[in-house]
Subunit: 545 residues, 2 copies
């Protein structure tokens, strides 16, 4: 025990306390040339945090992009081994930030410590997953079709294909995931793994958390010998920095997590460029849940409890929050709504991320309740502090919902709407009319699902992930996960924001024809020096040629 304590003490002494400076990272250099200054806000104490942040200037943005482009020229060819060291080092350095990161996170988000620590773990896991992926190397999807010089009427050339990185990627931090979908979150980890330098447009609500994480990335880059400019972190409280980045000719792709309005604006900017670039924006979703009658009859009480928890989890600030619940009208559904309403107000209300966020929550909730036919069933009514959200359950008739698109809009926060459908046909008609969603959930007895196959089919065509007898909240980080879906859940349903296959957003296939073996990249050489799995003449193999 004595030994352990002394090790801990030594480690603590080694950890140099990082002071938040409010400066940008232009590569490894700190820089604060801009005249615009802003602060972050602690919603729990309802006061501004101390540090002042310097918004990146036009020149700083130019410098960051120029460095990123220069870094790209060599970083794109770094071995999987080296990129893996870099990614693991980032995870290590984030861990080494210790309590300061957790405290800053909490003071800038109002989220509890447990959540901060969980999200840090998830972020590190993501980084290490990508480190494993690129170390293993199979992800480049190597294909080799060997030559057939004697083929008639024309000789067949030797053609080999692998994935290569697109170029510098701009990542927009998300308000609701200061770690896992921000500075060193999934988008950044995937881009760095792919071989793309990253410029982060830090989220203004957690600029301090962002700077801390950026300092960890920079330390890791220096420690593992990465090229200057492989990573930059830019502060900004408005839209100008983001606009300039997305329009820059040397930026080749964009990752975003946030509102439909924000994501669509970036998508539109990118589409209007002389050279359009891909924008993967993961945006709004109300995550419909369909409760089938038998299941509700059997397990209504437990489901009400579970869903009260899911709706209020993280104060309803998850992209996968279940904002829309469907059932067939009748006594069973009435009973469920009653139980859900009772359960939800028993939960301690939580703080939202920022006064702007709770402002939007109250406004959007108000807008929804102003719609004809939407009834408030229950809302947390006891006295609450500043920035605390009153969770609410509402209900509406299927026919009313079907006809009013305003009711289909997301109310970001601990809010849900139970739609009482007349019958199976109306339920199906409503689902067909929904916008694209990240998730859809079916609550059913096994035999029941078959009777509602049309509903299930309709749901499948509207979502990226379908869940059986569970809750949509909780996005497992694993290769089978799809976090994305038809617009507006994402701007391109052909990709996922979570899991190792999310690397595909930042790479393109590239062919070498009749290229000399000695000049080929390792992944495509005859001798397969990386020992990766390749398609050789359409057969999967690790063999040499």
């Amino acid at each position: 025990m004595q030994v352990v304590r002394s090790v801990i003490k030594k480690l603590k002494n080694k950890v140099k306390h990082y002071m938040i400076t409010g400066e940008n990272y232009i590569g490894t250099k700190r820089s604060a040339q801009g005249s615009k200054i802003f602060k972050t806000f602690d919603p729990v104490t309802n006061t501004e945090n101390e540090s002042e942040f310097y918004e990146a200037s036009t020149e700083e943005i130019e410098k960051a992009v120029a460095l990123a482009w220069k870094a790209f020229i060599c970083y794109q060819d770094y071995s999987g081994e080296r990129k893996s060291e870099f990614l693991n080092a980032i995870a290590d350095e984030i861990e080494a930030l210790g309590d300061e990161l957790i405290n800053t996170y909490c003071s800038e988000s109002g989220l509890p410590q447990g959540r901060a620590m969980g999200e840090r773990g998830r972020t590190m896991f993501q980084l290490r997953s990508f480190a494993d992926l690129v170390k293993k190397g199979d992800w480049v999807d190597a294909h080799i079709d060997t030559a057939q010089p004697d083929r008639a009427p024309l000789a067949k050339p030797d053609i080999r294909k692998m994935m290569i990185p697109l170029g510098p990627v701009v990542v927009f931090g998300a308000s609701n995931f200061p770690l896992a979908y921000s500075t060193a979150g999934g988008d950044t980890a995937a881009a760095l793994a792919a071989g793309c330098p990253v410029i982060v447009k830090s989220h203004p609500m957690h600029a301090g958390t962002g700077e801390l994480v950026a300092s960890a990335i920079i330390k890791a880059a220096e420690r593992t010998g990465m090229p200057e400019g492989v990573f930059s972190n830019l502060n900004s409280s408005g839209i100008e920095v983001g606009v300039q980045l997305v329009q820059h000719p040397k930026v080749k792709a964009v990752g975003f997590t946030g509102s439909i309005r924000g994501g669509r604006a970036l998508y539109d900017l990118a589409a209007k460029r002389e050279e359009p670039i891909p924008v993967f924006a993961e945006m709004g979703s109300v995550n419909p849940v369909v409760f089938l009658p038998e299941a509700l009859k059997e397990r209504g009480e437990a489901l009400a409890k579970t869903y009260a928890g899911s709706v209020t989890l993280g104060t309803g600030q998850f992209c996968t929050n279940p904002g829309l619940l469907f059932g067939i009208k009748g006594a069973t559904l009435d009973q469920f709504i009653k139980r859900l309403s009772e359960e939800i107000v028993m939960i301690e209300p939580g703080c939202m991320l920022h006064p702007n966020i709770i402002g939007a929550y109250n406004k959007n909730k108000g807008n929804a309740l102003a719609q004809k036919g939407l009834k408030l069933v229950s809302e947390y009514e006891q006295t609450i502090g500043d920035n605390i959200a009153r969770q609410a359950v509402t209900t509406v008739e299927g026919a009313v919902f079907l006809d009013n698109p305003a009711l289909h809009q997301e109310v970001f926060g601990p809010f849900t709407m139970v739609v009482q459908c007349q019958d199976k046909e109306q339920l199906e008609a409503i689902i067909l009319k929904l916008e694209g969603q990240l998730t859809g959930t079916l609550i059913a007895d096994s035999n029941e699902a078959n009777a509602f196959s049309g509903v299930v089919e309709a749901l499948r065509n509207r979502v990226g992930r379908i869940i059986f007898n569970g809750v949509p909240t909780g996005v497992e980080v694993c290769p089978s996960m799809v976090h994305g879906g038809p617009y507006p859940a994402s701007t391109d349903s052909r990709f996922s924001a979570v899991g190792i296959t999310s690397i595909n957003r930042w790479v393109r296939p590239f062919s070498y024809q009749d290229w000399p073996n000695e000049l080929l990249p390792a992944a495509l050489k005859n001798e397969n020096p990386l020992g990766i799995i390749r398609f050789v003449n359409n057969q999967l193999t690790t063999d040499t040629l």
Copy 2:
């Protein structure tokens, strides 16, 4: 011999001659409600062809899309086996069209019979490749991550992922490939394989060829029991039909091969939709070729002959036509230019696809030659018939080329420009400034390439495929092929228009969470009834669970 002749006779009697009607196919129904009528043109005889084509009306378009959507609901779940039968049947029915298809193709394109037959073979090969792919079934990229109910702090759910189709796809036929990139070409074959119904906007220059191929698809669909609306073929001589299709909410993706102007217009329309959809447009490319000094010294004469052939192949109407040749200024390059110029005028000039195409060729060639510093070195000068293109070799100094973007534009046709670079550095600077390209070619001695690694690196970042000591013309259909590249070679460099992986343009990943085994699609069931290769807990296997 007697037996063979009698079999042939019987077969001939069985083949029912198909009369071109000029009607659209709205699913299996022929329809000609539109009032706008147009004809195709034979550039060889310089006369209009007889058949009149009826441009699709707004109502016909609506009907085709509605049918496609209805077909999608069931077709998306058809087994690989059934889709494979359909694709093979299309190939069979195209073959059964026999000489009529070849004759119509030639009369609508001016291309020779040998080319028509070669392209038909390629088209059938593509269809059969996709048939094999979906029959095998591995392409769905199945991932299974099994549950860990005991994991702390949270149980891990069972998650399984596979590719599913996007929905109805609109395919725009290409002028320069009436078969391989049109009605039943690569885009259509890939979309049908994916499970997406297809609506073809037939190319007006070869509407008769399109109708014949459409009739083959419809026959195949009927013969193999495909749902009504799985395929429609719409005629149009202007842009209206295409615009309406791309803007239709039930259309979920677009494939296009053609000009930058056309492709970009469709991309812009799709990006402005309420729900933006992916457009894969394969567009312009000048396909730079870099001749390194040693190679040119050793093999200049042979290279001049080879490149005279490549520039004029198919009257220069290939997307991969080498329109831009680079060398280091000096006697060796002078000699090469001289030989190339002599060789190219010895080739019999060819007919272009249409008076509009040759009109554009002459105009663009004129525009290029009007640029300061571009010199005409040689041009075919003997008397030629209507619609025959005069091939030409031009040359320009590196510095002039670098400064004048007008010289970087494609001149579609048998035209090439030799850029005389001052040195390696200027060559690299020029390549860095090029727009995105389908291909880049390096002509070099093995040892030479290393000395020019900066040039090779620059080229790699500008193209989709790089060729060593070959010609860019000739696009092998195989899994390793990338036919695409950075904009404007394509609108999304993350995909290829050729090869079986081009199916990825029309599909999206989809996750099932805790879904009951009996309700899962075959590709994801525990027992792996399809026997496909899957990632199970991140290991490739064909095992059952």
